[in-house]
Subunit: 323 residues, 6 copies
């Protein structure tokens, strides 16, 4: 039985100021995967952006998110829970990557997440560009295609770029569906917007059964009804959450490579994540935080806050599963 | 008859990455005015800010807008149209200007736009400060005063500054009305806010018949009803659209010289521009993007996105006129 | 009797451009306290941040707010009043401070505000970190505990930090209540959000009778109904207003030390301040503007604009009191 | 007789921290010109950049220089003098300007400096762009052409720009020589570099007798020998010093409109200004500090430090003249 | 025979202000390679950084260099030549690249440069990361290994990274020597510094015969004697020049991915490039300008200035070859 | 006997990219002090700036220095040594601090360093403001006053500020001498410059026997002769090195609170530190790196590089002591 009194706790900012000490995710201890027995939720960095077709930088995301996550405290003011009291959480460090070789990197990341899954740890990932979601899904969806709640400005289901390149941050979910690790009928994409390459950009996804919710529909519905629909789509099955920081408006998250004006506020995003409550979550990621385009760190702060909202949802899922 | 298969098309980011190649408006070809036969809509830069009374910089606007407009793709996700398939568009380059002589610059710009009008090209201008709208209106409104949908934090109908200076970015629409090129009874100003010099700042405009809609009314009405009123005001006559980037809240558009907190979001602005659908448009501008106050380029991205929304409206107007 | 024709007037930007001249609050004359006979409202800087537990910088706030306040003009566009015509306002300069000694600084500031109160001047303070509100309240609430409308992301009623430190920017209102200068039953905290140290963070304040309104309730109610509740709480008694700039979302006010995503827009804040109309105001502050975290000055512009909204409310209160 | 015990003294940073109080030049009192009897050296801002042909911004220079000049203390470590003990110095505020009218501005500035000269005050000016030196010279050189030590990357003796514009920041010294207020035979230009418009850019100046010292010669000679030559050129006559901040390398002074790589370090500039010791100085300026291109303020700090070096030289000249 | 009166000339900043018009290299006309008959020197962008092992961004280099190169004029102040009068120069645009596929990109770039060479055009390249030099050398050194003057903080002759990756920006010159397109005995590396992975980092290069000159030796020798040695090493044979912007100190060129403190000033670099005079140049590049790490553009300005120094040397080489 | 094969080694950037993994000093393992048996040199952060009289921020120094120190590799290119092969090094984390209580913080830091000294570990500290050196010296100099090589723009031997405050970053060395832990006759201050509060600023130090070397003398002597003098002053006794980052020119180190133009280049500083070779070192610090004033991290990179130069000197001292 899990003993909450043994769970890792963040360093408190009332004892040690937030700027002090090495930066880890939410000031949790750094626990290498090989020492992670008993860990329920592992926060993992994937410092890689080899799938980026335009402005690079998310390879630096995990470090800046760790730094800014020192701002996060332990208790959720609105949900009235402390995720760190109901699940044992740790910073598992970064996966191995190869910044100049895409296929090599995809393998390294999938390998790591296979071990994470095998260890019974639910992963909360900080990317990296959105191609990072593919190797994670390959590990988590192996043998059981997962559903997905996907917050993004872009559908990321293109076939290829630049005369045949199959692996970019615009293609991960097409590959994941082709690989049978993602169930399109249990997938919803929320916040889609921005000019398109052409009228058929979304056709493939729609044909597979993905529920695409454009930003206009989102703003018409509001956060609560968006999430009703999301819960309807994903149902009770194992569900992954992918949060591309560019679902937020660039005024809230300038540090990203493919900004599209007219997006969500952070408050709307917080409300939507809280709408995941009760789902059968198996993992989540926050991707496309690109520090070179936001030295201030506020995009990373938004990302860290979303990770905190997500870890609350995941901790409850862990707790339910344990019961 | 126009043959859409011959229309200029933007370079696609799926073939050539967006950071590659010379920067033109929306990756369209650069076509000098003398070679522009067959062009329906001309995007034009007016790199000039000699009318600025406070923080300078919009002279650098056209170049940064061109750079950031590489983010724009070809198809409008919500309107489901490709403006470049229904109108022939081109980057006509920048007008001639004189950074140290206001009157000389006004003449140079008016001359250019007279030629544009004579060539049957509808202009979409990237400023420059707001005084730039005056020489454009002098060309477009010559012989037929135009109506105007004007998005701005400021009314820009002052009489003079600094003991008698008649030409500043706070005076263009007073001059345009005096010159008979702008019809005040078919003019609406949307988003007006910020502290005033005195109680009479808006009196002259109101007396001429301008419909002034302050931000409080705007937020009460919402985008759809704002635009109902705008369409009522301008009616069927020839209509110009002037979009001062400072109508947006500074959090969305920090790169401008006279920021006023409490403004529109980019999404609200996008919705409003879409509300221009069906109007008899004769031209439009996006002004007051000031790169020195936003090296990140996000203000220019907002400006480029508004230009994309505008070119969709203008392309439909071209198409209707052709029918 | 007060003679409005003798009131200090800001330098007009139509005569002297806003970037010219020494920077004072809203371009008012600088009047040392000893020469301030006849001044109704004094704008005062407290350049001190010795209570900051995390990211420092608000000591630089008054200077940057002065600089950006040159953007403010004289007349309120929505309220249709000119505060400078109904109350005599001045920039009283900065208080004395000691950047390396907290207790010494608290005394210096209290001393200054005692003199301000004795001179019959209503103070509008630009901080400084939030601990600055404590010495101000000690002067203003001496002998008559004041009520307070408090806009903030944080309750700032902690007991101590770092093993016993009683004076930080997280403790001022607990000290003020203990000192009997702040009436908790006439205090409302608006916009509270962000992760907490634990479930009991707000308990002490609630037990004292403070009305805590979390951001979720705020967004549900809207500005008008929030302020109805605020007016109900503070009633007719003497009331102080404390505006922590971090009540705003970081996209509107990045220059602050403890940003929490998911906050108010500037427009919402403006509307809320206007909801103070008619209250028995005795002073106000705008704190936690931290220039090193926003060299652009936009956070300071937001702060200056809130000061303008506040001075309108305060000028009316002065005028009523005079009648 | 001047009584040094009555001279204005800067506020000390050991008593009042440097970030406190209104920003004036070197924390001296602000003394309007009409109250300046007894002032020997007046520091004056000219917030104007209407002569700028490329990147604008120096209109904001005086305010940022005032802000950063709070870093300056009272005593020169190497020269072992306190300028404020041997001459009575004050901040005279900014001149009147018209940001949108060049000729009007030139007149306003000349008028102000005529009064300064008539009051027996030696001016130390903070620009503004380099065209500002022209109206200053028109006042100071009236009736007695002055010599000049001119530190700059550019000769600024062009005839006209943009098809006939005579007044730009590239033409002031040609106009001054034509007006008979600057003696070309007693003028030396130090640090000239950067690509030229053509082989004749310097011809006119050389024909008038100006001594042009390009950067290559400067680096070969070193600061001491450069200044030997400068003293030889200007001799004993009345001499003006014009310090364009772009004489510094952009790594030391990025905040300027026409940066040229390969320039002086600040230390070399300090040494050169100290080489002015003993000259018959009548005034000096530091121009082309452009805050929008350096929000950090370091360019303004360099400018303020050069002003401190200059005021030491000027104070000694005042003292000698008094003896 | 070449007719200089037909050579492309940059747009003059005395006629059209530098901020106006589309950005091309040094304001030269954009001439696609297929129309480039008669062009002697082609400026080419390679917007690619797929070889970057640490901080990405040089893919954005060509566009920012074009923008900042508007600062360059036509005539070299110290050499007294106008390169554009003695050689016909043009902006040939950017090569095709694939941001997510290294081998594909190497082929695309080599193909382009083979055509450039076949057209008799000498290329002056703006990178891109340093791996870009490899495909250029493969085209230029095919059949005749070239010598090289290489300015850099790093030797870039590593064998592989990340468990076997052969193509990174730390390996181009090892690959070039292995491919027989670069002659190590006619290669000199200037400015080498920074901590090393181990004592053998330079061994391979030294064994091949490369002359490695560390920064300490450089500062001891001075620019003139460095270049004497460089000329001795490369002799009369065909010689390539590769200028990695990180040879400059980060204070002069912060916008780069692998900064090493303690480097050259821009002036020292200018002097060294002038020391190439008379060499048998066949091409040159300026690489590793990374705009995301320097939004100010000053690194790109340094790069553009080095390109101007290089084009002067190359134009003379063209002229000599023509004679 | 120490066994070098067991020494901690930095993670190599050829295996794991530098942006990956948690940030520790030079990618060394983090070893808490209680587990540090066998560690020779401990890198320690002191995240505190409570002694700062002007611009705050060095409390954030250790974290940013750790981040940027990922740029450092293992082998010194010019000295040809690997410090990590001759001494066992580790990151000992940060000391405990209290951001709002100076005296409490001084005690916490002294306590930590007493334990470090007791453990036989030589400390290399990353500050923090310069007051941090005092508690370190109190631990290291207890019972044996140490000599000091002090690189700085300021002498930091003032008596008090703000009417009696004894502990600021302008007073540490006066307190250390009074406490008998620093030997003034074996202390040299290198690089002193900037305006002074008065002629007596240096008197006290000189009277105690400190050798003060102003920047003018430094530039006259050059790095080698400066260090000859330094070695003469400190002799064979135990010697501390304190490196205030503001000894560097602000162009090399803008991220600091009290910048003074006209300072050292990083190369000069590197050469000077190498001149410490052979001294009897007992510890060192690098202080006053203030991240809020340099989000780019280049100041921290300069600081990290100086730490690398210092650890080379310290490792040799460890090795000699072991022999």
């Amino acid at each position: 039985m899990a003993d909450p009194t043994t769970f890792n706790q963040p360093v408190s900012g009332m004892v040690t100021p937030r700027f002090a000490g090495l930066a880890t995710f939410m000031r949790l201890p750094h626990v290498p995967l090989e020492d992670a027995a008993g860990v329920d939720i592992g926060m993992i960095g994937v410092p890689w952006d080899g799938g980026t077709t335009n402005r690079p930088g998310p390879r630096h995301g995990p470090r800046q998110i760790r730094d800014m996550s020192a701002m996060i405290r332990q208790f959720h003011h609105a949900l009235h829970i402390s995720p760190f009291r109901i699940a044992n959480c740790a910073d598992l460090g970064d996966t191995s990557v190869n910044p100049t070789d895409t296929l090599d990197s995809l393998e390294r990341v999938t390998d790591f997440y296979r071990k994470v899954r095998a260890a019974g740890i639910m992963p909360l990932t900080a990317g990296g560009d959105h191609l990072v979601s593919l190797p994670v899904l390959r590990a988590l969806g192996e043998g059981r295609p997962v559903g997905m709640v996907h917050f993004d400005a872009h559908v990321d289901t293109h076939d290829s770029y630049f005369n045949g390149t199959k692996y970019t941050h615009g293609t991960p979910f097409r590959r994941a569906i082709e690989d049978g690790v993602l169930d399109p009928n249990r997938t919803i994409q929320i916040g889609i917007r921005g000019s398109l390459y052409g009228p058929d950009d979304m056709s493939w996804g729609l044909e597979q059964g993905i529920r695409v919710m454009e930003i206009e529909e989102c703003f018409d519905l509001g956060s609560d009804r968006i999430m009703e629909e999301a819960r309807r789509v994903v149902g009770d099955g194992p569900t992954y959450v992918s949060f591309d920081i560019d679902c937020l408006d660039p005024s809230y998250a300038p540090g990203t490579g493919t900004p599209e004006v007219g997006g969500f506020s952070t408050f709307q995003a917080q409300k939507m994540i809280r709408g995941l409550r009760g789902l059968n979550l198996v993992g989540a990621d926050v991707v496309e935080v690109s520090p070179p385009f936001d030295p201030s760190g506020y995009t990373a702060l938004a990302g860290a806050t979303m990770m905190f909202e997500l870890v609350c949802m995941m901790a409850e899922a862990v707790d339910r599963a344990r019961a």
